[in-house]
């Protein structure tokens, strides 16, 4: 009798907690969308902010964001996957591997502003890349490297030993086995790591403010699209931060709505891929 009563109370509390969490999420999403969507017009999406013309737009920041995502991944994905393969398949288990794994985990927990500080001094000043998308991308690559390495490594660890011996028993060389068996089998984990990284890149402001800067112009000529890498460029999130600090709240909410849409899109993609892979 007593137990039944306790169970009911507990169940009630659990429901309450679940309801509260859900409510919070929907509340925030709803608030941002209601405040933000009126801002999001075609001209907001396709124009660049200009004091002279009196327009407000985020096209430049949107392009910067794409550049940042692509460049960061271009550096971090090969290094991350390579490191994971090395750690899991080539290195002899021992102190060195444990040290590297420990370092990777620590790296994942460092506040992003520290990456910003390091990136600004090392890539910006020492390597002379200045405030540029490249400096920002290299900085973010360091930041997301652990994410990709860790996820790839976990996926590789989950591949049954029997697949490896099966392939070797057929006469496969090590690299051939990795290419044809391991990487395909680990693909879900690799993609998860990449998508989580995209999420981090989209959400980052502190590490970018002093590395990639806050430029928001679109290139004017064909060559400009290439020069862009060495020019300052603020992502959507950086622009959101700057707009807030200038009390331009309507613009800020507009950007926030666009960002949320992108993040939701990525989450949706992750779930779809997960489902597809589970089915195999």
């Amino acid at each position: 009798m007593m137990r039944k009563w306790k169970d009911d109370v507990l169940l009630c509390l659990i429901y309450l907690a679940a309801f509260f969490t859900e409510f919070l999420l929907i509340g925030i999403l709803g608030y941002v969308f209601v405040k933000g969507f009126p801002q999001v017009s075609l001209s907001f999406l396709t124009n660049v902010t200009s004091v002279l013309q009196g327009t407000a737009g985020i096209a430049g920041n949107f392009v910067n964001t794409l550049y940042m995502v692509v460049m960061t991944l271009a550096v971090a994905v090969p290094f991350g996957i390579g490191a994971a393969i090395y750690l899991n398949e080539y290195a002899r288990p021992g102190r060195v591997v444990r040290l590297i794994e420990f370092t990777t985990e620590t790296l994942a927990g460092i506040p992003s502003i520290l990456f910003g500080l390091f990136g600004m001094v090392f890539f910006g000043t020492t390597l002379g890349l200045g405030y540029s998308i490249l400096t920002g991308a290299l900085t973010l690559a360091l930041m997301v490297l652990p994410l990709i390495t860790k996820n790839t490594q976990e996926a590789l660890k989950a591949v049954p030993e029997a697949y490896r011996s099966g392939a070797f028993g057929m006469g496969a060389g090590k690299w051939y086995m990795i290419r044809t068996i391991l990487l395909p089998a680990a693909m879900p984990g690799i993609v998860t790591g990449i998508l989580l990284s995209v999420g981090r890149i989209l959400g980052e402001s502190a590490a970018l403010l002093f590395t990639a800067g806050s430029g928001y112009f679109l290139p004017r000529s064909f060559g400009g699209w290439f020069r862009k890498l060495s020019e300052s460029g603020g992502t959507l999130t950086v622009q959101l931060y700057l707009s807030m600090s200038k009390a331009q709240y309507s613009v800020a909410f507009g950007i926030a709505a666009v960002l949320l849409c992108m993040v939701l899109g990525i989450n949706f993609l992750v779930r779809m891929l997960a489902k597809k892979w589970d089915a195999v």
Binding site: R92, P160, A162, Y163, S165, G166, A167, F168, G169, M170, G171, A172, G173, Y176, T180, I181, P184, A185, V280
Partner: protein, 261 residues
């Protein structure tokens, strides 16, 4: 060796070991093993758990190379050629000496790609040629009729017995000369076991087969020669008929009568 006379001298020897010693770190897993494996015969390896049967099998196609702290001494010959010599190409060796594992281990890909995996390693790329190899191998492993409709389905959807026959087909696809099988039926139901046993008997025409088994009836049913191991030592090696009817060593007699192991 007890059985090295009479009819055994007449037939050709496919593989042979001389003073084979294997160590895992400090553990002495195989001690001075001398074996001759007859061509086109089924040789069964028997003995209690941990006596070194799998270890011995793996030295025959150098799968032991993959173990971290292993040390191998002595010689292993395939057609008179020392397979541990530096001139030996391991990829080619494993093409000639194929392996089937205890747990069926099809790769997470289509049935077709599983069978084509080996041929592709060895440079066969043509679609028509691969199609032919896939059909021939699946037929040889007596699984063609069951999977011909679903060649492009994942191999992971097959039953345990089908998976094992698929793995046999996969090993046959590279046309090996020797087939090593480590307890290939211990994870299978009686019907699948029977099918695999029938295959092995049929394979004798083309291949030399070495099989590890814990099942005395199986060894007696399908093998021509039997080798008995105990604690890393070869105790007795003879034709199956003689070893089971007149074991020379009392430890062999005790083992086949089920008194230990």
């Amino acid at each position: 060796m007890a059985g090295d006379k009479g009819q055994r001298r007449m037939t050709q020897c496919k593989m042979m070991t001389e003073k084979l010693n294997v160590y895992y770190g400090k553990r002495h897993a195989l001690k001075d093993v001398d074996i001759r494996i007859r061509s086109h015969a089924v040789t069964a390896l028997i003995g209690p758990s941990g006596c070194g049967k799998s270890t011995f099998l793996k030295t025959l196609n150098r799968m032991n190379d993959l173990v971290g702290n292993v040390r191998i001494e002595g010689q292993v010959y395939l057609d008179g050629e020392d397979i541990y010599s530096t001139r030996m190409d391991v990829t080619r060796l494993r093409k000639r000496v194929g392996m089937v594992f205890q747990q069926p281990n099809p790769f997470p890909m289509t049935i077709y790609d599983n069978i084509a995996y080996g041929p592709r390693i060895h440079g066969i790329k043509g679609k028509e040629q691969l199609d032919g190899i896939v059909e021939r191998s699946l037929r040889q492993a007596a699984i063609w009729e069951e999977v011909r409709e679903g060649l492009y389905k994942s191999a992971l959807g097959l039953s345990g017995g089908q998976k094992q026959r698929l793995c046999i087909a996969r090993a046959l696809a590279v046309e090996p000369e020797v087939l090593l099988m480590d307890e290939p039926t211990s994870a299978l139901d009686p019907v699948s076991t029977l099918k695999v046993e029938e295959l092995m008997t049929a394979f004798k025409q083309k291949y030399t087969i070495v099989i590890v088994t814990h099942n005395m009836q199986q060894a007696a049913r399908i093998s021509d020669d039997t080798v008995f191991f105990l604690e890393g030592e070869l105790v007795e090696s003879d034709t199956t008929a003689r070893l089971f009817s007149h074991p020379a060593d009392r430890r062999t007699r005790a083992y086949i009568n089920g008194r230990f192991g």
